[in-house]
């Protein structure tokens, strides 16, 4: 997986990221996984699916699941703002390359973060579940958070797999313990 290879904020050099706003938070996603940014399109609801990934969109003839990072990141879910966008990302799902979309209230810019500026999320004082945060960094006078996308999707898929194969005994719950 592309993302996990530089999980630890060590090493020198700079990291290309795209910054976005989700609710009140500033997030940064590695630019290398970003395929494109779309204006909001018609979303097809998937009945029975989780809130995290409750819709499908058509991205140039490909059907792409649309995920809402506010669900795993414990953020309040309000209507998306007028500048809302969909970020189309290349992310592995269950070990295979896949395309997923995530929603954002606004997309700002592609920029660079010094690797030295990346810090582990503090154990206390943040409202994000720490297992889903890859790092935080100061950028332009504010704090941006790099969500750990592989972890978020892996945990979600493990949860789905657990609920699917309940014929073979109690499924291992992949649900993380909230701190």
């Amino acid at each position: 997986m592309t993302l996990s290879r530089a999980t630890a904020p060590t090493g020198s050099g700079r990291l290309d990221v795209v910054t976005l706003r989700l609710g009140q938070d500033a997030l940064a996603i590695r630019a290398e996984v970003l395929r494109e940014v779309l204006e909001p399109v018609a979303v097809t609801r998937v009945p029975g699916a989780s809130e995290f990934c409750a819709g499908l969109v058509n991205v140039r003839g490909t059907i792409v699941p649309l995920a809402d990072l506010r669900v795993p990141l414990d953020m309040p879910r309000e209507e998306l703002g007028p500048d809302a966008r969909i970020l189309v990302l290349d992310l592995p799902l269950a070990g295979r390359p896949a395309v997923v979309g995530i929603v954002a209230d606004a997309v700002h810019e592609v920029t660079r973060i010094e690797r030295e500026a990346l810090q582990d999320v503090p154990a206390v004082g943040t409202r994000w579940p720490p297992q889903f945060v890859e790092a935080v960094a100061e950028l332009g006078g504010g704090i941006v958070m790099l969500p750990d996308l592989p972890a978020i999707f892996d945990v979600h898929l493990a949860g789905l797999a657990g609920s699917r194969h309940n014929a073979s005994g109690p499924a291992p719950k992949a649900e993380p313990k909230p701190d």
Partner: protein, 592 residues
């Protein structure tokens, strides 16, 4: 020799040995069948020829000896005795090992055994004819041959051109195997396009076929968009040309799809071999009957089915059948009967493996399940659900591991493969009478005819193959209460449910609701929708792993206006009592 040439040789050799094996196995049942003997001989001969041509001298030498032994059989003076077939199969395995680049031992011994088996079958004076490299060619070209002649082994093969003989073609082994293995009543498995005359066959990479399928899918979507525009414009010329394009696209779709369809017979050859070997290994006489080999499934489905079916057969042979003495004591025929049946049923393909062995031991499964903690000691469980526990990972009631089975891995593989193919497994067993495992698989075609319906402003596709009829819902309040009700369809009661309840659709039902009567497996049910939009060609796009666990949808498609619509999986609705969407529990699993 470059890699490409080597690949051509490998593909060819693989199909030849497969055909050879099928022929040998069939010889067991019909030892005097001339056509069969000729076919085996042809396979050997072509193998020798291509092997020699590509520099596999050891292979060519061995096959030459093999062929010599068969020469006396072909001359008609002898019969294929079981012992000869057994040795021949061993020789076949030796060839497979040689082709795999291994260095198997015992070539001399095998050839000696072959010669002995032949002379035992014929009598001392019929010495195998030696040195057939050149002189048998005229014989092969004799008019009595059933199939076109084999090219002389010395003829250089153009690298790009495809081989012209049926045996040398990758599509052909299945055809040949089917033709040879099928009962005399059905001499050739005439599946369209596959068993065309030899000259009409070409070999295509599967990836190109997939690419073509993608293009056809896009064409169908574009065509739907065009149709919408044409309908809005009202221009007669545009409408007429759109209709033409629609007709052509439908034809394209059907043609492209039929190319992907493969008869089950393409994998049954190895089952015959497996049963033959298991029968010998376990000392239990077992007969395998295959019904409906010509049933066609999508290529990928057929390929994925081979492994689980092997496991099921192995399991039936090892655990299912009593030994011959016990069977006789129970006044059953000494030979166990294993039947593999394939047939279409609505939108599903049913593949059934039935044995007439001792049946599953419910008490032992229960005891084992409790021991493994899968079941509470005093749990009440429906008989069918209890039997289903054999598909749990690592579950085995075998007291001892045998070489054949008992590790409890096989049934788990079966379950996983069938689940991945979005299929289901039914299991029934009668003590003393045998066990029947039914795999229900969706047709999983890339494109289906769909019925586009609307529920609460959202659009869904119902596979048209599952739709029986559409009726008006007379009592318009009836659909909104979530309870399952009954509809009288020409004297038969059909339960119906509101799709808006099943799909947790927001909003109120429309004023003119319709009921779509669908069949799933053996049962019928009605689904209440707000509006029928019409039928269309639906390109199935698989759902990502994020949604593929949902039993109620088989995929999604892109409609003419570019929006996405989900395709309902009717069998996911077939058990009305259990359809509650696990929205709440699912939600709990999302880390929040």
């Amino acid at each position: 020799m470059d890699e490409e040439t080597l690949a051509i040789f490998q593909a060819e050799a693989d199909s030849l040995v497969e055909s050879l094996e099928a022929g040998l196995l069939a010889l067991q049942d019909r030892p005097g069948d001339r056509a069969l003997i000729d076919q085996v001989f042809r396979d050997l001969h072509t193998l020798k020829g291509t092997g020699g041509m590509f520099g596999f001298t050891e292979l060519a030498g061995f096959v030459h000896g093999f062929e010599s032994a068969f020469e006396s059989l072909r001359s008609g003076a002898s019969l294929a005795t079981p012992s000869l077939v057994a040795v021949s199969l061993k020789a076949h395995d030796h060839i497979v090992a040689l082709l795999a680049g291994e260095a198997p031992q015992g070539a001399e011994t095998l050839l000696a055994e072959l010669a002995a088996a032949v002379s035992g079958a014929v009598g001392p004076d019929a010495e195998p004819k030696q040195d057939l490299w050149e002189e048998d060619l005229p014989v092969l070209n004799a008019p009595s041959m059933a199939a076109p002649p084999v090219p002389p082994p010395t003829q250089p093969m153009p690298a790009a051109a495809e081989p012209v003989t049926p045996q040398a073609h990758p599509a052909a082994p299945s055809v040949q195997a089917a033709a040879v293995a099928a009962q005399p009543a059905t001499p050739v498995a005439r599946s369209e396009g596959v068993s065309a005359p030899a000259g009409g066959l070409i070999r295509i990479a599967a990836s190109r076929l997939d690419e073509m399928m993608d293009r056809v899918g896009e064409l169908v979507i574009a065509e739907a968009r065009l149709a919408e525009i044409a309908a809005q414009s009202g221009l007669p010329a545009l409408v007429s040309v759109t209709e033409d394009i629609q007709r052509l696209a439908t034809g394209m779709r059907d043609a492209a799809m039929s190319i992907r369809m493969t008869p089950l017979s393409s994998i049954t050859g190895r089952f015959r071999r497996l049963v033959h070997d298991l029968s010998a290994q376990l000392g239990k006489p077992i007969d395998l009957a295959i019904v409906g080999e010509e049933t066609e499934l999508d290529k990928t489905v057929v390929e994925q089915l081979a492994e689980p079916l092997m496991h099921l057969i192995r399991n039936a042979a090892d655990h299912g059948f009593e030994d011959a003495e016990t069977r006789v004591r129970l006044s059953k025929p000494a030979t166990g009967r294993l039947t593999l049946t394939a047939r279409h049923s609505g939108t599903e393909v049913l593949i059934e493996l039935a044995d007439d062995g001792k049946g599953l031991d419910a008490a032992r499964i229960r005891a084992k399940a409790i021991e493994r903690g899968l079941l509470a000691p005093n749990a009440e469980i429906a008989p069918a659900d209890l039997l289903r526990l054999i598909f749990a990972p690592g579950f085995s009631t075998a007291e001892k591991l045998t070489e054949v089975s008992g590790r409890g891995v096989g049934m788990d593989v079966v379950r996983r493969t069938v689940t991945d193919l979005r299929g289901r497994i039914d299991l029934s067993s009668e003590p003393g009478q045998g066990t029947r495992v039914t795999l229900r698989l969706p047709l999983t075609l890339a494109i289906i005819d769909g019925l586009l319906v609307e529920v609460g402003g959202e659009r869904f596709i119902i596979p048209l193959a599952a739709v029986e009829e559409i009726v008006e819902l007379a009592d318009r309040t009836a659909g909104s209460e979530g309870s399952s009700r009954l509809l009288n369809i020409r004297g038969r009661l059909v339960p119906y449910q509101a799709l808006r309840d099943l799909l947790a659709t927001p909003g109120d039902p429309g004023p003119f609701q319709k009921v779509v009567i669908v069949t799933a497996g053996e049962s019928r049910m009605g689904l209440v929708v707000d509006r029928i939009i019409g039928s269309n060609q639906t390109v199935i796009k698989q759902l990502s792993p994020l949604h593929s666990g949902l039993k109620t949808f088989s995929g999604a498609t892109i409609l003419g206006d570019g929006s996405v619509a989900l395709i309902l999986e009717i069998s996911g609705f077939s058990v009305p009592a259990k359809i509650a969407f696990p929205t709440e529990s699912r939600r709990a699993e999302v880390p929040a």
